[in-house]
């Protein structure tokens, strides 16, 4: 219209200052701490929400799409300091919730593969960016150079502390280095990304076990703060007769040996016990050590295994069998060598506390399976005693150990979990320590809102099939057991896969104050994503509940976009006659307070 109308957004703005601003009118960037914005981000960007480290996934996938691999790497690194590593072995909580993986939307975006891609393809000219704070003159000791320890050390160094890491093993990396087989995680990569951390003047003392070589108390005196991040190292025992026999390996030790290049005896027939990643790693390693008949044996049923389908498939592909609903009761041996293992059958039962479904042994259901070796991969527990005997009650949230100035992070606090959680824990711990030493918070998380106008992607991208990961074939796998099985995406593959991301960080909103309810948007919606609603409940925590829909014309208060179903196709945008639909880019960012 030739003149700005009484209903034009700008005018609304001027008309009434204390009125609500429509997102469309937000020209400058907005930082919000409103619970509704945090809630919106949480429901809108499921991948980021699922990630313990809150990685800005749509953000870095967009960068990959723009072939800015360096920037993509930085976005990752700002949330987790080992992108290349996580890009290979992350447990991928994000992909389970990816909107693209919902029924009828196809398969989830290969978020993890893409993460790996930024590490693989970042240009030689790539530089790492660290927003360094002025030195504080204070010193912090970190015990354990595993994911949690490294993460804490890094952030503390950035915050201006002098950091020393004490590591009992010969190499840093902890589980990464000794728990995960090389065919899944190349060693040079681990070292490279660890060195990127150490470069910030962090001092690394290897072969130094706190507790035996140097005492925690001493550290407590010498340093302003101490982080205990020794992880979970003491193996959970089988606790059945015969476990002391030769050729009964514990998963972690077994992997350690394999990773140190040794060849522990496995024989022809191998029985692996356990349902996690380690169990599968052990089994696959056993295959590579020449075992002919390898089986993974689990107490519950297959669906309770804590591994993702690709792992399952690779294992099956390598000929590994899975036997379920059995638990070992006795290991049988002849002159101290394993000859077989006795199992009890189990059945599933319900309990009222997590994990809700458990397996219980069935009496007199024993049966015997002959085998040459047994690998018990039952996970590990933190060895608190080993570090110090004075710990009194861990405060998991606050990372407090009970001893002033001594903090804890990672598996040591949470018990055996996954790498990304450990990293998230380490970083959080660093923040706690900073607040403790400085006396106030120096950083805060806010929602960054920016007007965006376009959808950034054509509808056709929604129909691209997930790009599979390239792998080497069986011969090569057995030829050299350390050959990395997955070989990564090519530049083109990465670009193709990056197109698939819906960019859920873009928020679409209808302004009911300008809407005439003509339902043009609903008409073109590809999903049940735009709704005629009567109300939207606000939860006690300040976030929104589910829209209350209605078909009664006289009850329709607004036509609203359901962020949880919206696949960001932008059809609505193109048809709205009143231009009352806005796109806003939402990001979780850290700003200095």
């Amino acid at each position: 219209m030739k003149r700005n109308h009484l209903y034009s957004k700008e005018e609304k703005l001027f008309q009434d200052k204390n009125k609500i601003y429509s997102a469309q009118s937000v020209k400058q960037i907005v930082y919000s701490t409103d619970a509704r914005d945090f809630g919106q981000v949480a429901t809108s960007i499921p991948c980021q929400e699922a990630c313990p480290a809150k990685t800005n996934i749509p953000g870095y996938i967009r960068c990959i799409h723009e072939k800015r691999y360096g920037r993509a790497y930085e976005l990752n690194r700002s949330a987790n300091i080992l992108p290349g590593v996580l890009g290979r072995i992350c447990s991928r909580p994000c992909e389970f919730v990816c909107r693209h993986g919902e029924p009828d939307n196809g398969l989830s975006v290969a978020i993890c593969h893409l993460k790996r891609t930024c590490a693989d393809l970042k240009p030689v000219s790539h530089r790492i960016i660290e927003g360094l704070y002025a030195p504080t003159g204070k010193k912090v000791a970190v015990i354990g150079a595993g994911p949690a320890g490294l993460a804490a050390a890094h952030d503390l160094a950035v915050l201006g502390y002098r950091v020393v890491i004490f590591e009992s093993m010969e190499n840093p990396g902890g589980m990464l280095m000794y728990g995960i087989p090389e065919f899944r995680l190349p060693r040079d990569l681990i070292l490279l990304e660890i060195n990127n951390i150490l470069r910030m003047g962090i001092q690394l003392e290897t072969n130094t076990a706190v507790g035996s070589d140097i005492s925690l108390d001493q550290l407590g005196k010498e340093y302003d703060a101490v982080v205990v991040a020794t992880g979970c190292v003491s193996p959970r025992k089988l606790d059945i007769p015969g476990q002391e026999l030769e050729n009964v390996h514990h998963g972690l030790e077994f992997m350690k040996a394999v990773n140190e290049g040794l060849t522990p005896f496995v024989g022809d027939k191998v029985v692996v016990i356990g349902a996690g990643f380690t169990a599968v790693d052990c089994a696959r390693s056993a295959v590579r050590l020449g075992a002919a008949d390898v089986s993974i044996n689990i107490r519950k049923t297959g669906e309770y295994m804590r591994i993702d389908d690709s792992e399952k498939h690779e294992a099956q592909f390598e000929g590994i069998k899975t036997y379920s609903l059995i638990q070992p009761s006795k290991i049988i041996g002849k002159n101290n060598k394993v000859t077989g293992i006795e199992f009890k059958r189990t059945g599933m039962e319900k309990i009222d506390t997590p994990p809700y479904r458990i397996s219980v042994p069935i009496e007199n259901s024993e049966f015997i399976v002959p085998t040459d070796s047994v690998i018990a991969a039952l996970g590990q527990t933190p060895d608190v005693k080993k570090v110090s005997t004075r710990f009194s009650g861990l405060d998991k949230k606050g990372h407090q150990t009970g001893i002033p100035g001594i903090f804890a992070a990672g598996d040591f606090v949470t018990g055996s979990s996954d790498v990304i959680s450990a990293i998230a824990g380490g970083r959080k711990c660093a923040r706690v320590i900073d607040a403790y030493l400085i006396g106030e918070k120096r950083k805060q998380t806010v929602v960054r809102l920016e007007n965006h106008v376009t959808t950034d992607r054509p509808r056709s991208h929604d129909f691209i099939d997930r790009v599979g990961m390239n792998t080497i074939d069986m011969k090569e796998r057995l030829f050299k057991s350390t050959n990395e099985v997955e070989t990564g995406y090519t530049d083109d593959q990465a670009h193709e896969e990056s197109k698939r991301c819906y960019l859920c960080n873009l928020k679409y909103e209808i302004d009911p104050l300008a809407c005439i309810y003509c339902s043009a948007c609903i008409d073109v919606a590809p999903k049940d994503c735009i709704k005629m609603i009567a109300d939207v409940p606000v939860n006690p925590d300040g976030t929104y509940g589910e829209y209350r829909e209605t078909d009664d014309w006289n009850a329709v208060v607004s036509i609203a976009i359901d962020h949880a179903n919206c696949i960001r196709c932008g059809q609505c945008l193109s048809v709205c006659p009143m231009d009352c639909i806005s796109v806003t880019k939402t990001e979780l960012i850290e700003i200095d307070t």
């Binding site: 009828d104 054509p458 509808r459 056709s460 929604d462 129909f463 073109v524 919606a525 590809p526 999903k527 049940d528 059809q571």
Partner: protein, 586 residues
């Protein structure tokens, strides 16, 4: 080598391309050499919730009716398709959208409602359409693609005909449609396991003749042009509007004029004006419009000014059901209006005779200087049939005005009493032919005359025209009777005749001795022929698409004997199955 006779129904919401999908399908099939007959039904709403059904019968043999039940139902919209399911055969095939934008509640999905024995193929129509063109508009094409894949229709030929259909449109439109079609085709080939017997492969077809794919409206327009129409006035009304739209394009090329008036009253007025000027003129309308014109129809008869009204009947009374077919204007067309008002009424029985009827109408109107009504109905107007190209009317039919001779002009009586009832008619501009016309009763000169004798004489004169008309009227269609009496004689008119004919053929196959009679000439009616036919039948059955049996009553008066009525007002065309069923019961 085998035969095929299959009825395919596409059902969706108005605006989902349901109708155009049907059109594309039938055009393509006709091009392949099949006999096709298709019929759409759609609501008054343009978009929103109106139900549309494109019904197409495809056969390798001649067909006379659209067929009642469908072999295949393509659902573009579950709500509507559910209500369409009853017309799907027990063993019919359903093609539905397996991945709609929104989930269904229990029993709200057509797939869920299929009866056992039916075969249903789920195709993600919506998703594939989006995939092909970024929006749902291509669902209809996706469905056609899937259909082609399932019934072994030649992919490339079909895409060609789609391109042809959208030839004039922008390239993006063509691509969108073609891509949607291919998405559907490939997906079905890839994912559907065929478990039905239908296939268009290796069907034997009659030798190819040049065919015209038309509906009644198009043929009426074509005929009018061929029969020298010079003026058309009209007002949009379903289902006659199309006639005006075509003429508006074509008439000027023939030196004629088209006028879209503000209403039917003005339309018929303008037509009569043009007729008075000596030009062939007509208008087309439907029941409600015809009712508005009634007063003018009287003037046309009274003042003996040629006028042709095409009345495409729809379900009534009043606004009724604008998009449903019915034969319920018989009475108002034959008898409506004020006074003793003889008018000529023609009712074509099928698409191709719409042409003949229109030519005759303009010819009769001019020659007999009176009103001629052609009774089409929604079905004839809109159902598409592929027919042999009709041959152009002879000169006799194109120029028929009986102009006054020299001696007539000496003392020119515009309304001169003659044996045939036709008075030589001078058109304005004829020297010495000046006369006065009026709606008042008048004498031979046209002057008002209220005398008893005068009114009787003139009324008689107007009725006398009938005898002459009957002489050159088209003969009724009567099926071969064989020797001796038949048990059932089926007498029908208008669009019901095709179904009647098929029913009788089927009955004969079943061993029922039956014969059929139908006449395009409705007023005046060929009574002698009718009586002769009836005398040869033990029982008479008269099927028609109205509630009261308007024509049956009319025929009973002629036959003076009871007849069986068979009436439907379902809004759907007459079905041979129903007639046959009735015959079995008789």
């Amino acid at each position: 080598m085998k035969d095929i006779d299959i009825v395919i129904e596409i059902c969706g919401s108005a605006g989902e391309g349901t109708i155009s999908a049907g059109e594309i399908l039938s055009r393509f099939m006709s091009g392949q050499g099949f006999e096709i007959m298709s019929f759409d039904s759609y609501p008054a709403e343009i978009r929103g919730f109106g139900k549309c059904v494109a019904h197409t019968r495809i056969s390798s043999n001649p067909i006379y009716s659209p067929g009642k039940l469908a072999d295949v139902l393509i659902s573009l919209n579950d709500n509507h398709a559910i209500s369409q399911l009853p017309t799907l055969k027990e063993s019919g095939i359903l093609i539905y959208d397996s991945q709609p934008a929104r989930p269904h509640e229990e029993d709200k999905s057509v797939a869920g409602r299929t009866k056992p024995g039916m075969i249903s193929y789920g195709i993600p129509l919506n998703m594939l359409a989006h995939k092909a063109a970024g929006n749902a508009r291509g669902m209809n094409m996706v469905a056609l693609g899937a259909l082609s894949a399932l019934f072994h229709v030649d992919k490339d030929r079909f895409t060609d005909s789609i391109k042809a259909r959208y030839g004039k449109k922008k390239q993006v439109v063509i691509d969108a449609n073609v891509n949607s079609f291919l998405e559907g085709y490939d997906w079905a080939k890839e994912n559907i396991k065929k478990s039905d017997p239908y296939s268009f492969e290796g069907v034997n077809l009659p030798e190819q003749k040049e065919k015209l794919i038309v509906n009644g409206n198009q043929l009426v327009a074509q005929a009018a042009l061929d029969a020298n129409l010079m003026f058309y006035a009209g007002y949009p009304i379903t289902p006659a509007t199309k006639i005006m739209e075509i003429l508006s394009k074509e008439l000027p090329k023939h030196g004629g004029t088209l006028l879209q008036t503000e209403d039917e009253i003005a339309a018929i007025g303008a037509v009569i004006g043009a007729g008075f000027g000596g030009k062939r003129a007509m208008t087309a309308t439907s029941g409600p419009g015809f009712a508005l014109m009634t007063e003018f129809t009287g003037l046309s008869v009274m003042a003996e000014v040629p006028a042709v009204i095409i009345d495409s009947q729809r379900a009534g009374p009043s606004t009724g059901m604008p998009t449903k077919t019915e034969q319920s204007d018989f009475n108002s067309a034959v008898m409506g209006g004020t006074g003793d008002c003889p008018r000529i009424v023609l009712a074509p029985a099928d698409t191709k005779s719409c042409y003949e009827a229109t030519v005759l109408a303009l010819y009769f109107a001019e020659k007999y200087q009176t009103l001629v009504v052609v009774l089409l109905d929604f079905f004839l107007s809109n159902s598409i049939k592929n027919i042999d190209v009709p041959k152009k009317p002879a000169k006799k039919y194109r120029i028929a005005n009986i102009a006054p001779k020299k001696e007539d002009l000496k003392d020119y009586k515009r309304y001169k009493i003659t044996k045939s009832g036709i008075s030589p008619r001078a058109v304005p501009g004829t020297p010495g032919g000046i006369f006065f016309s009026t709606g008042l009763e008048h004498n031979e000169y046209g002057r008002p005359d209220y005398s008893q004798a005068g009114h009787l004489k003139m009324t008689q004169k107007r009725y006398d025209k009938f005898n002459a008309v009957l002489v050159e009227a088209p003969a009724p269609e009567i099926s071969a009777m064989g020797r001796g009496k038949v048990d059932i004689g089926v007498i029908s008119w208008g669009s019901s005749a095709g179904a009647a004919r098929e029913a009788v053929m089927a009955a004969q196959k079943e061993g029922i001795k039956a014969a059929s009679f139908s006449s395009m000439m409705v007023s005046p009616f060929p009574e002698k022929a009718l009586i002769k036919f009836a005398d040869n039948c033990r029982k008479i059955l008269i099927p028609e698409l109205n509630f009261s049996g308007q024509f049956a009553d009319f025929a009973t008066c002629i036959l003076k004997r009871p007849v069986e009525k068979l009436n439907f007002i379902t809004g759907r065309p007459m079905a041979s199955e129903d007639i046959l069923q009735k015959m079995r019961e008789m």
